[in-house]
């Protein structure tokens, strides 16, 4: 084996590929070749580090130096200075926002330091296309341990004892689900992985599949052993081409090395895995719709019971788990249920990955122990709200979740606390909004999504969400009527009670939670025809504050409709008939003289 004195890890996750990491990797290879260093320095592709916004991202070991937003022009300098002369290129290192400090190692930055990585343990650190790198990190040892030292029931007991709950939305105890399927009658059983990831804000499942595909394969094989299945299916959306490719490579490698297929590791156990591509409809992430789609039928939900554990794929007992749920399994088997259940809080064990986005300084993927407070995630890890704006709310749980106000920032993140507060864990989307965001508009945004994604099979969801959306539309247009709030609440209640599947049952949540915490904003829209946050176009107009206007004329230049006029150095004016409310002048004015009212 060659010995390399340095490894250059280039992120080849979706985010960094989009910002140009492929040419960067080639540039490193070319430059190292040119300098005669290719035998000493190895270039390695990895999956997502969770800091996609700062991509293309490059890590250099042994120092662990973290270079962000690297450009191809920077590569010769990094090679010459860092890799040849040993001088870290400070200029390109990640810099913490509020300090001048530049951080050498990825692990030293606030965004990483406070995380606890179990599901993401290998993401960004190994080459996902080389099975040896996974094996080197204890890969397939958990499967070996299960097959040679544990009974199937022993595996299920361990998962039950760990307290692991589903990470895909519902939060159902994983071990209990496996027990149902193990106990179900039938000689053929199936293991399914839900990699549909329909929540528009979430991308943790994609990152796991891209960065550590073998962990999902290993976990599915362990599940197969536990319930007595010999086939597994991964349902992944076709819009995730890199994830699909890495999965295909991983399955091929695992088969070649006897880690999938007949008589795994010389035991009696045989198991194989197949990929099914989904078209990306949100409702196909619902388990019964997903199973229908795998079978080649229309992706429509059906009533439960019977649950998939008894009647699943081709009517055989089936377990279906989320990607992140599976990613925890090998670690639980290797380190034990007690190790896992010591992490997290009383009722929610382990960690959860969140895709933090919106009005926050550091957006990206963070994995935190359950019980961490919202405040810690948003301020300590996420770095707070940009541009000195005020925090207003955080939306968790995606289209099925809700908005939580500032008064709940100290709430620990757990399955049950979130539900009590009117939101949910969901798959881990977390969108932060600041004072400029209208809460009625946010509710409308999510409801528009669910309304479009409704499969239309049952009337409460198909018609009910449409009615709710119409009401929200008229409220934000300044045409809200007395009684609209009550109407929304009634509709929400009946949809929740009568929709067939989770999509419809949770669709009203964004509206209900904003009504609960931001009712005054709805009232301002309806009664005063005002949008307090200045977010609803129809309810605002732009004005120049004469005292603040220095007559610089900047706004005149940016206005696309010549709606602004005035003499130089004298206060300007906006002609409201011409103004199309494009917000350009508001953004441009250097003196804050333009206001939205």
């Amino acid at each position: 084996m060659e010995i390399y004195r340095a490894h250059v890890l280039v992120c080849k996750g979706t985010g960094c590929v989009a910002s140009g990491s492929e040419p960067i990797m080639e540039a490193f290879q070319k430059e190292l070749e040119k300098k005669g260093l290719s035998k000493e320095v190895k270039v390695v592709q990895t999956g997502c580090l969770g800091l996609c916004e700062l991509g293309p991202n490059v890590l250099i070991y042994p120092e662990g130096s973290y270079y962000c937003t690297v450009k191809t022009e920077d590569v010769p300098e990094i090679v010459e200075e860092h890799l040849l002369k040993g001088r870290i290129v400070e200029r390109l290192l990640y810099k913490e926002r509020d300090t001048k400090e530049r951080f050498r190692s990825l692990m030293d930055i606030d965004f990483y330091k406070r995380q606890k990585r179990i599901a993401l343990r290998h993401c960004g650190l190994i080459n996902p296309e080389i099975i040896e790198e996974y094996i080197a990190n204890d890969g397939y040892r958990a499967l070996g341990k299960a097959l040679t030292e544990m009974t199937p029931q022993g595996v299920i007991d361990e998962i039950k004892k760990s307290g692991l709950r589903g990470r895909g939305g519902g939060g159902f105890p994983t071990g209990v689900k496996w027990q149902f399927a193990a106990d179900a009658q039938g000689d053929i059983k199936y293991v399914v992985c839900n990699a549909d990831e329909g929540d528009p804000g979430a991308f943790m499942d994609r990152s796991i599949l891209e960065g550590d595909p073998h962990t999902v394969l290993e976990a599915m094989a362990i599940a197969g052993y536990a319930i007595g299945a010999s086939e597994g299916y991964i349902y992944v959306r076709a819009e995730y081409p890199i994830a699909v490719k890495r999965l295909e490579i991983a399955i091929e490698q695992a088969r070649n090395h006897g880690l999938l297929g007949k008589n795994i590791l010389g035991t009696e156990f045989s198991f194989d895995i197949f990929i099914r591509l989904g078209s990306g409809a949100f409702v196909c992430g619902e388990e019964t719709a997903l199973l229908a789609s795998v079978e080649g039928r229309r992706g429509e939900p059906r009533p439960r019971p019977p649950f998939p554990a008894n009647k699943g794929l081709w009517d055989k007992p089936t377990i279906i788990n989320n990607v992140e749920t599976y990613a925890n399994i090998p670690e639980i088997i290797l380190q034990g249920a007690d190790w896992f259940s010591n992490i997290g809080s009383e009722k929610s064990k382990g960690t959860k990955v969140f895709a933090v986005g919106g009005k926050i300084n550091h957006t990206g993927l963070v994995e935190i122990p359950m019980g961490t407070t919202l405040k810690e995630v948003i301020y300590d890890i996420g770095g707070g709200i940009p541009n000195n704006k005020k925090f207003k709310a955080v939306q968790t749980g995606g289209p099925s979740g809700g908005c939580l106000p500032a008064s709940l920032l100290d709430m620990p993140i757990e399955y049950d606390t979130l539900i009590q507060a009117g939101s949910m864990m969901g798959s881990g989307g977390m969108i932060v909004v600041d004072e400029d965001t209208c809460m009625v508009d946010i509710a409308k945004f999510f409801l528009t999504f669910t309304q479009e994604e409704s499969c239309g099979k049952c009337p409460p969801c198909r018609i009910g969400t449409k009615r709710m959306l119409e009401i929200l539309e008229r409220i934000t247009n300044g045409e809200g009527r007395e009684g609209d709030i009550e109407l929304l609440e009634n509709l929400a209640k009946s949809i929740k009670a009568s929709a067939l599947c989770g999509l419809g049952q949770t669709a009203p949540n964004p509206v209900l939670s904003t009504l609960r915490y931001f009712r005054d904003e709805y009232e301002a829209h309806i009664k005063d025809k005002k949008c307090p946050a200045g977010g609803c176009q129809a309810l605002i107009h732009y004005e120049v504050v004469a005292d603040k206007c220095k007559g610089c004329g900047m706004c005149v230049k940016v206005c696309p409709t010549q709606a602004i006029s005035g003499e130089r150095r004298k206060p300007h004016e906006i002609d409201l008939d011409k103004c199309i409310k494009c917000n350009s002048c508001y953004d441009r004015c250097p003196f804050g003289a333009i206001v939205k009212l």
Partner: protein
């Protein structure tokens, strides 16, 4: 890599594969060999020294040692310079290295834990 037919075989492959990623873990606790690669270091022949060290480590299958470079340390007349830094030991600086001396240091200092006094930096 062949078909893995038992836990023992998996374990064997894991041990071999560990060398592939060794460089990315537990770096605080490893011995470091640092080669001076300033302009004068390179001119004085630091590259062949570095390559000799890497080659010797490879021959002897030693993977838990970090080999890095550093820039000018202001001792140009003693170049090429090599530092050996072991956790809980004072740093040892070797001067006027050449590939042969460097190999000797790998064998004596890294493997047998004996400082090679005759090459150590004179008291200045």
């Amino acid at each position: 890599m062949p078909v893995i037919k038992s836990m023992e075989e998996l374990e064997k492959i894991r041990k071999q594969a560990k060398d592939m990623i060794n460089l990315r873990v537990d770096n605080e606790t490893k011995t470091r060999i640092v080669v001076g690669m300033g302009t004068c270091g390179i001119a004085a022949g630091a590259r062949p020294v570095m390559l000799a060290i890497l080659d010797e480590l490879k021959k002897r299958n030693i993977t838990n040692v970090i080999v890095t470079e550093t820039g000018c340390i202001g001792l140009c007349q003693y170049e090429p310079l090599v530092d050996v830094i072991q956790p809980d030991h004072p740093k040892v600086t070797y001067v006027n290295m050449n590939p042969e001396k460097a190999r000797e240091i790998v064998v004596k200092h890294i493997i047998n834990n004996q400082v090679v006094d005759e090459y150590v930096v004179p008291n200045i």
